[in-house]
Amino acid sequence: MHNIPMARPEPEDVEIELFIRALQLRHGYDFSQYTRASFKRRVLNLVTAQGFGSISEMTGRLLRDDAFVAPLVAGLSVPVSDMFRNPGVFKALREAVFPLLKSYPNLNIWQAGCAFGEEVYSLAILLQEAGLYERTQIYATDFNDAALARAQEGIFPAREARTYSENYLAAGGAGSFSDYYHARYEHIKLDEQLKRNITFANHNLVADGIFCEPHLILCRNVLIYFTDTLQNRVLSLFRDSLIRGGFLCLGNKETLDFAPAGKDFVAVDRRARIFRRASSNQ
């Protein structure tokens, strides 16, 4: 983009670079390929929340205190989600994808970037109602261990129950959402049975590789955080993992347009951002 003048970087932008470098060299977490504007905002929020005077001060701490890395990564990750978020997408999965999955005797599903598990439990409920749950192994992964631990618990604030219930119905839920949880202490705890085929595991999309051959990958609102380069890495990983003709479901605003690997997918439902691995390659 040659028409943009190269200004002298502001001190804060230099500090961000050094922070990223320190986290990478010292702890192996590489955030250099996260979209910078939102990443910077999160870093500055952390500086304030943790009571540091500057980014550099926080960098100093992370260099010398290994125990600080977990809360830092948790603070840089964005485990924001909802059950059946964008119900139309779950409806499309149920109506356009599940019938095709029915022909396989065993299914693998990978949800990448599972946050607190909201979407993987949503998926589990729909699979159950479609009679597919028994034959399915679901992998729910994230790089945020604290979020994974919460996801494993399957406990959510009771105030969300109403929205989740509305979303569930809009997603074409066949019963009542309340069949799937017990309410106590202002929280809802999802039915333990829902996670008998779910494996929660740490997987970092920046660094880790193929670990299963999924028929469906759900990765919503994760690519928005990644630069074109990292999007291409992740989409290549998805392509190489998926079985031939396997499905990929992205977030409502995400596109395949800025990564070469996007060409290896064909759209099934553009609005719901559901794609299939093109069968021609490899």
Binding site: M1, A37, S38, R41, V78, N221, I224, D228, T255, D257
Partner: protein
């Protein structure tokens, strides 16, 4: 693909914003040599309808700000609902579902602050009618980097809280009636 815009105008509004936006957009001259970016809190999931309404009396093309798309001169980009909208250094959009900021997403502050960093003095920012104080911090960031600040006169705004909060915190280069905002932008772009 054409080059990214060299200048931008960012506009934030909330309660009463549709009416205000229509008046401002109607006054802009065609082929304005700047990209326009609009955040209007609507509470609705779907921004297509807002885009449709804004198109009606605007000489410039209006569309939803697309994830990773470039900011284009003479184009009105409208923030999608449910996501924060950022402008990256290379003058492309990016989105996030980071938590709401002051109870809203998209947040005007988030857009303005990232725009200020990307465009520095080649940026004009407009705060109009609204019932909260979103946009005030953002406007301060715009001014701190040499951008132009335009605030709708709170006395005239349907909901005065937002322009008033912006004035209190950031001040402004122009405090205008709605009808005067477009002419100020047209002149600034010239």
């Amino acid at each position: 693909m054409s080059d990214a815009a060299a200048a931008a105008v960012v506009i934030g509004c909330s309660a009463g914003g549709l009416h205000a936006l229509r008046i401002v957009l109607a006054g802009l001259r065609p082929q304005l040599p700047a990209a326009l970016v609009v955040v209007c809190h609507t509470g609705s999931e779907d921004v297509e309808m807002l885009v449709g309404l804004l198109k009606r009396d605007c000489a410039l093309p209006v569309s939803e700000a697309g994830e990773r798309c470039q900011l284009l001169e003479g184009q009105v980009h409208v923030a999608p609902s449910g996501y924060h909208l950022y402008i990256e250094q290379e003058r492309r959009f990016s989105l996030s579902i980071d938590p709401k900021v002051c109870f809203v997403r998209p947040s005007i502050d988030v857009l303005f602050e990232s725009a200020a960093q990307a465009f520095t003095s080649k940026l004009a920012a407009v705060v109009m009618t609204g019932a909260n104080d979103d946009g005030a911090l953002g406007l301060r960031a715009v001014r701190a980097r040499g951008g132009l600040a335009i605030v709708q006169n709170p006395a005239e705004a349907l909901a005065p809280a937002m322009p008033q909060a912006a004035l209190n915190l950031a001040g402004a280069d122009h405090v205008c009636q709605l009808a005067e905002i477009a002419p100020v932008i047209n002149r600034w772009c010239a």
